[in-house]
């Protein structure tokens, strides 16, 4: 049962082959049994899940249901769920019971989905390995001595290990796509502004975007139908006509122009990864797409610009964690300054503090122009590069990551090397574009991801292209040994 996709589960629920309650119990049972190896869930919420499942079963009985009614899902612990601890992977919020629902959670609840629990993540989404979590690292189900990627590593891990049929994630510099690639699942980062950020604890506001993490592109399309939509509570949310993201999955790929940037295939790229990605791209050619070289000349500047802009915004976004109204407060503060400095020093982990300090520095008097403003200018150059390329082609393809999953603790003390693992993903966030990562083969037993980047609001096209690939491949159907 746990091998089914959302599309299949939808049919089974609809025809009464299984109830939501049975399905929910099944996943909760798997989570209880298998999560200790992965630490993908910070916690499950069985009571809430079973209550939702019961309600979903009634809805199905009364034929009031939609395609997602009764299907379980896991939420990254960055999304506020009313009455549930929402930790953002931090000691700072270990005691934080969210008093309201994120819009994404409201929407998926309204679609009838059942929340299984909250998934592990890098603290405040700052990381590419899920090792910076206060709750300990999540492991990769394909090799539990390796990282699942990050920051949505918990979501990627539980979906890959079939401890949830799908999950939510957030992507600030690759946090959906990179773990999806390293865990062999499908992850979509939508166009900035399509999915509401309300109730999604902010890391870098101009870059953050929530999105689906699932087994297949078809599943991602079903989730997008529920997640996308204008939210009056988010000033950066876009009001656009409602789309059915599943409507164009079957479109032919004949005539699709695929851009291949030379900057994505450099000597730094792991050979196996390069080969598998090239093979995948060839398959698109066979399906009728044409390949074209494109130029993204400022790609090498995306990491520097990103590691100024994201920490700058984060340093300000994380100022609200001050031990006054919620979250961690240090013991016996002697005065206000002590309350602030100690609550924050004790409540935040090392990587978060590093980024707060970098962000504080690049915004401070005398450095603003050289760092923050400069980075904003480079941000424009990077966006312009994409716009030029996307005038010539429909989508851009390349590897999601420079190499497959690395070992736990391999990069944890080397922030710069860790940051460089985001080389292919961060530029997409700087430009605000949509991109999807799909399984495109294995290096040994480790999955490799293909990234497909499209123009603004081209999610349906990306899902169509990904779905067509998945119709002809079975990389996404592989289950990690030990989790079958």
């Amino acid at each position: 049962m746990h091998e089914h996709t959302l599309a299949e589960l939808s049919r089974l629920l609809n025809t009464g082959k299984i109830s939501s309650t049975e399905l929910t119990r099944l996943y909760l049972e798997r989570a209880e049994r298998l999560n200790p190896q992965l630490n993908g869930y910070i916690n499950t919420t069985p009571e809430r899940a079973l209550a939702q499942a019961k309600a979903a079963d009634l809805t199905i009985l009364h034929k009031n249901h939609g395609p997602l009614t009764g299907i379980p899902i896991a939420h990254k612990d960055i999304f506020c769920v009313d009455g549930t601890r929402t930790s953002c992977g931090s000691k700072m919020l270990d005691n934080f019971i969210a008093p309201y629902n994120a819009t994404v959670v409201e929407k998926l609840d309204a679609a009838g989905m059942v929340t299984l629990g909250k998934t592990n993540m890098d603290e405040f989404a700052m990381g590419s390995s899920t090792e910076t979590s206060y709750y300990g690292p999540t492991t990769n189900p394909w090799d539990t001595s390796r990282v699942p990627g990050g920051s949505s590593g918990g979501s990627a891990s539980v979906v890959a290990a079939r401890l949830a049929p799908a999950a939510t994630g957030t992507d600030t510099g690759g946090s959906i796509r990179q773990p999806a690639a390293l865990c062999g699942i499908t992850g979509l980062k939508p166009t900035y502004g399509l999915v509401s950020r309300y109730g999604m604890i902010a890391f870098a506001s101009s870059l953050d975007q929530g999105g689906p993490m699932s087994r297949t592109a078809e599943d991602a399309a079903m989730l997008m139908n529920a997640m996308v939509g204008f939210d009056p509570r988010d000033s950066t949310s876009l009001a656009r006509p409602k789309l059915d993201y599943t409507a164009h999955l079957s479109d032919s790929l004949a005539g699709v122009k695929v851009g291949i940037p030379k900057q994505y295939f450099t000597d730094d790229l792991d050979t196996d990864t390069a080969n598998k990605v090239q093979e995948a791209i060839k398959q698109f050619e066979q399906a009728g797409a044409s390949l074209h070289p494109v130029d993204l000349p400022n790609t090498h500047l995306s990491i520097p610009a990103y590691y100024v802009i994201a920490p700058a915004e984060a340093s300000s976004n994380l100022s609200r964690f001050d031990g006054v109204r919620f979250g961690y407060r240090c013991q016996n503060p002697v005065d206000l300054l002590d309350l602030y400095t100690r609550s924050r020093a004790e409540g935040f982990g090392r990587e978060v503090k590093r980024r707060i300090m970098i962000g504080t520095y690049v915004l401070s008097a005398g450095y603003f122009d050289a760092y923050y403003l400069k980075a904003q200018k480079i941000r424009r150059l990077i966006r312009d590069d994409f716009q030029n390329a996307l005038k010539q082609v429909d989508v851009i393809m390349g590897p999601t990551t420079p190499k497959p999953a690395f070992k736990l603790n391999e990069l944890i003390d080397d922030p710069v090397s860790m940051y460089l693992s985001d080389i292919f993903t961060v530029s997409v966030n700087l430009a605000g574009l949509p991109a999807i990562s799909i399984p495109a083969g294995f290096s040994g037993q480790l999955p490799i991801g293909l990234q497909i980047i499209g123009d603004y609001f081209s999610e349906a096209k990306l899902l169509n292209i990904a779905h067509q690939y998945q119709l002809h491949t079975d990389w996404h159907k592989q289950t990690p040994g030990g989790f079958a």
Partner: protein, 95 residues
């Protein structure tokens, strides 16, 4: 760009992060290497480039002036470290 330990202290103070003496060197090294990475930007000529604060060139949508929120103090203060008579409490502040 190299940072002195005194710079680390200044930044930490601005960010309200307590940093122990024995952590200064770690931060100095880590932040220094991050700034080194970021330094590549300076090689690019950007005098004629306008900064881009937001990926989408759109304007703010304004909200009508309507009261939509109700009193949820009890719920919000349940998660607060210290409250009394509806106030949040902090160590005494001298203005």
């Amino acid at each position: 760009m190299s940072l002195q330990q005194s710079d680390i202290r200044t930044i930490a103070k601005l960010a309200r992060l307590a940093v122990k003496e024995d952590e200064l060197a770690q931060y100095q090294q880590a932040l220094g290497s991050i700034l080194g990475l970021v330094e590549q930007m300076q090689a690019v000529q950007t005098d004629t480039v306008a900064p881009l604060a937001h990926p989408l060139d759109i304007h703010a949508r304004l909200r009508p002036d309507v009261v939509t929120e109700t009193d949820q103090r009890a719920k919000f203060q349940q998660i607060a470290p210290e409250t009394e008579n509806g106030f949040y409490l902090v160590p005494r502040v001298i203005e």
